[in-house]
Each structure stands twice: as C-alpha cells, then as structure tokens.
Symmetry: C2
C-alpha cells in the first residue's frame, strides 16, 4: 500500500513539471526572411534552393530549441542568428548599405510572458544584432538603446562583434550604387518620376522602384515561437533600407511596430516598408484587434495587413502565432520568405504568393 502512495506522489511530482498538463502542450515556430517582389520568374533553381534550405535550417533550429524545453525567447534568438549569419538576408551579414556606405543594424525582441523587451538601433559591427537586443532585455532597465551608446552597451555585456568586412557583400554594395545612380538621374531632369506626391526628400532612397527583387528594400528577418510553458516570444533583425540616411530608424527596433508579444494575444514579427508599420503600430495593432476586438488571429492579421496597411499604401507582411497554436503568415507584396514548423515537426517553407507555390 505504502509503495503505491510513493508511486502516486512521484507521478504527481513528475506531472507538476509540465505546467500545461491536461492542456495538450504544444510548441510552434515560424520565421520570415523579408517580403517584397519575390517572383518565381526572377528566381533561378539554384538560388531558390539556397533560400529554401537556409529558411528550413533556421526554422528547425528554433523548433529543436523548443522541443528540448528551451524558452520561446531562446528559440527566436537561435533561428534569427542563423539568418543573420547568412548573406542571403538583409540582417547581420549581408545587410544593406546606408547612404554613407556603412552598415547599421536594428533589432528587437519581446517576451510575451513578462512583456519585457529589448531593442537596439543604428549599431555597428555587432555580429548578431538580435543578441544585443536580448542583452538589453536581460541587463538594462531601458528598452531601446541607439547608436554608439547601444554598441558600447553590447560590448559591456560581451555580445560578439565582427570586423566590418564580415558584414559586407558585393550584392548589397551594387544595390547601393544602383540606387545612387537612379537618384542622380532623377535629379538631372527626371525629378518627380515615381516620387512621392508630397515634396519629400527622396535622397533617402524611398522609391520602391529603385530595387529589383534581389535587393528588396523590405528585407528583414524575424521569428515567433510558442514554448512548452505556453510562453510566446517575437524578434526581428534588419540592416534597414538601402541608402538610408539621417540616422533613419525603421519599424524593426520599434516595439509595437516591428515586434510584439503578449501571452494573452499573440506574437508578431513584421517586415516591410517600416514607416507605414510605425504609423499603424502594426505588430501591436494585431494584438489589440484580438484583445479589444475579440478577433481570432487570422482575422486580426487580415484586418491589419490586407485592409489597414494596404489602404494606407504600405507594403510588407507579418508572421504571427497565438497561444492556441494558430499561425498566420500574411503579406500584400508578391512574396515573403517564410517557414513554419508544425507541432509534429513538419516544416513548410514558402517564398512566393500562394498561387505560385
């Protein structure tokens, strides 16, 4: 009899380690590698293979962290590190060049359980900018650090640095030259062509026509995760916009615009024309539509991306997860590099619009 009681107590003890017991605990992982004019006709089979393999590798890495009991924050970081280290994406290595021919990175990360967040913008030579954002989340009472101050903070907290050459790629350098040439042409007679309706300062490389699909200005990487404890997290990392100037900050390091996570609603990472995402607080707005509007994840994402963002004239997309295990990957551009790992470990990788896949 006594041994039965001991067994029962042991069983209860073991069960107590599974906080979601009885609630069918599941882990889920999704990521994106940027949205833009990604069309099958412009892609070679070899290039497509490279993208698919790298997206799958990163997604599986995130999923494995979750399966082995790691936190959603750690999973998001691990997957983004892989995308940052790949020259294929506009984040970390392979980031775009700014007007001065330098590379400046932005990143942010948020924990849906505590609503703690960390972000860095305009940092230089940090190998994995998302790790600097995580250092801010963990070690600073601030949420958002910028410029050389943020770089100093990362140094102090032993975030890994790399030499400038590590980040540089010929592809991105050529993009910068192309943008500068186009601007020169416009200034020499074609002024106004394709420019904004207002008398805006186009030296910042705004015109979406400047770049072909390989140089999509909407490039950014991001990830969202749900871990065994039912905690959501989201993170985003980017090199920003080719030829950006004047210390431009896009949506990626802005909590509420580029990144948001709240266990009560959802985790979101954005990619797109950052200015529109800031003006609509896109990532937070999806969470708010769920909380205040009682919408499901899909409906909230559709309202914000397909209606609000599109009506304002913004381009881009998001990936989002909720606690119930729903996933949404929505964009109003021709394509978005994206991957999703289901509960059973099955990976789905897509690059184009649903009709081209």
């Amino acid at each position: 009899m006594k041994s039965y009681i001991v067994l029962l107590l042991n069983a209860l003890f073991v069960i107590s380690f599974f906080p979601c017991f009885g609630q069918n605990p599941k882990v889920l992982f999704a990521l994106h590698g940027g949205a833009g004019t990604i069309l099958k006709k412009n892609m070679t089979p070899e290039k497509e293979k490279q993208y698919r393999e790298k997206l799958e590798e990163a997604a599986l890495e995130g999923f494995e962290v979750l399966q082995s009991g790691g936190s959603s924050i750690t999973a998001v970081q691990a997957a983004i590190n892989i995308l940052e280290d790949s020259p294929l994406f506009n984040a970390g290595r392979g980031s775009v060049y700014n007007y001065e021919g330098e590379i400046e990175n932005d990143a942010s990360i948020m924990d849906g359980h505590s609503l703690e967040a960390g972000a860095v913008c305009g940092v230089q030579n940090i190998k994995n900018p998302i790790n600097a954002a995580l250092a801010v989340l963990m070690h600073s009472n601030h949420v958002m650090l910028s410029g050389s101050g943020a770089t100093d903070f990362a140094k102090k907290h032993e975030v890994e640095f790399a030499r400038p050459e590590w980040f540089q790629t010929e592809k991105r350098y050529n993009s910068l030259q192309k943008v500068k040439e186009r601007l020169k042409e416009e200034q020499n007679g074609e002024k106004g062509k394709g420019s904004d309706q207002k008398d805006k300062d186009n030296s910042s490389g705004y015109n979406p026509d400047y770049l072909d699909f390989n140089d999509y200005k909407y490039g950014t990487v991001g990830a969202v995760a749900l871990d065994l404890n039912g905690n959501l997290a989201a993170g985003t990392s980017t090199g920003g916009m080719t030829n950006k100037r004047f210390g431009r900050i896009g949506d990626s390091p802005v909590i509420g615009a580029g990144t948001y996570a709240n266990n009560k609603t959802c985790a979101v990472s954005s990619t797109g024309h950052g200015e529109y995402f800031i003006r609509l607080a896109v990532a937070f707005q999806i969470a708010a539509a769920m909380e205040y509007g009682k919408m499901g994840l899909q409906e909230a994402v559709n309202v914000v991306i397909l209606t609000k963002l599109t009506q304002l004239g913004g381009k881009g997309g998001v990936i989002a997860l909720d606690k119930k295990g729903n996933v949404a990957m929505r964009f109003n551009t021709p394509g978005m590099y994206r991957a999703f790992v289901a509960e059973n470990g099955e990976v789905t990788v897509k690059l184009y619009g649903e009709d081209e896949e």
Copy 2:
C-alpha cells in the same frame, strides 16, 4: 430675382469654407508639462504661480492658433515651443543631463488626418526639438531620425539651433550630480537598495527614488488639439531621463507609445516612465481600445493608464482628446502639470491630484 440668386450663391460659397458646417465645429486644446511626485506640500506659492502661468500661456497660444483657423498640428507646435523655451520643463531649454553631462532631446508629432508622423531622437542643440520632428513629418519619407543624422536633417531644413549654454540650467545639473552620488553610494555597499528585482544595470539611473519632485524623471511636455476642420494632432517633446546612458530612447519619440493621433479615434500625448509606455504602446493602445473595443475616450484612457500601466508597474499619465470634444487627463502619479482650454476659451490649469486642487 437675379440678385437673390447671386446672394444665395455667395452664401453657399461662404458656407463651403466651413467644412464642419451643421456639425457644430469646435476647437479644443490640452497640454501637459510632465507627471510625477508633484505635491502641494513641496511647492512654494511663487513656484506654483510660475508653473500655472506658463502652462496657461502655452495653452492659450495653442487655442488661439486653432481659433484663428490654424491647423491642429500648428497649434500643438506653437504651445510646445513655449514649454520648450521655458526652463521649468524637461524639454528644450531646461532639459535634463545625460550620463555624459550632455543634453539630448527627443520629440515626435502626428497628424490624425493623414496619419503622417515625424520623430527625432538623441538630437543636440536644436532649440525646439518638436520643430525638427515636424520637419521630418513634412520633408522626409522617413518617420524617425536619430542622433547626428537627425541633427543634420534639421540643419538642412533650416530648423533653429541654439548654443549648448542655452539649454543648460543649474537645477538640472544639480540633479545629475545628485543621481551620480546616489549611484556611487549604492555601488559602495548599499547595492540593491531600491533597485529593480532583476539584476539590471542601474547605471542608467532607473531608481525612481533618485530624484525629488523638482527633478521628476517623468518630465516631458506634450499637447493635443482639435481644429476647425475636425482634425486631431498630438506632439511630445522631452530631454529624457536624468543620467540616461547608452543612447537610451524613451517613449516620447516613439509613435504609438509617446504620441498618437487618428481622426477616427483620438489624439494622445504621454508622459511617464517611458519604458513601460513603449512595452504597452500606451498612446496607440488608447486609440485601439476605442476603435476595436468600442470604448469612449474616458473609458479607454482609464483602462490603459489606471489598469494596464498600473498593473505592469509603470508610472505616468496622458492627455487625450477625441473628435467629439471629449478630453481626458489621467495619471497614476501624485500629480501632472496640465492645462485644458474648453470650446468657449476657458482655461483650466492643474498641477496636483484632483483632491489637492
């Protein structure tokens, strides 16, 4: 007969200049000068008079712009300029010092009609930082510019600069010394006293106990306006947090956190412990509670400030207006410098909690 037709046509022509004809067009204006431990017992009659007079002057200036047919954006700018030029408030002249003993300013402004927005952060020697934010709104395709790049942009667009001495006040310098002494004491044995529960980097001057009410770390100025065309606007300007470090960006230049305006819902300017306002996207969340949750302005402000912000541990407040002419001025600190001008031109200025007024 013919002359009657001419008269009628003339009348219609005149009426067409009043877009709100038949809808009882009204103008409204509200502003804040920061929230914090503002208590009557700590205030001298002379000091109180100074604050009340400056708040009234700025509020009336904003109101007069509106009454004479100016836009809500212009009214917000005009009133904030007066608060920025006064050493009483932590914005423009009289801004707090950062860790390096320098003054760095943040500001943002948003137009509720177009959802266009402009923001600058970490700018130096710009006399009225809100004017730099407005220059971004008007002349840049970006929304948020930072550091020396933002300062260069302001120069290019002929925003007025001032010498460093213009911004400096003895009061703020003494605050910095006081904070630094307190930090030194903590590091020499009293470590952890009053600090955050987590192992956070307190060198950033987080501890709310550091500063007395004169140096309220929640100091910021902001304004919201409704103009004759029914357009809402909001703006916020600040020197940030005393002893801030590592290029810290607070909520004031973050669209969605410190500032938000949308004609469909409301205009909001925040003041408080910025990190919490970013994590909750406070300004946008109030608009979202109205849009998605079908709440009135007062209810939305109460939910976000009195419930959400307070539960997370954040301190501060907001001023908000909606299109129907409702105004809300809510805070969870002992006081908030605030003023409101009603439709009939009557000004209300308050400094303390409602029970002390």
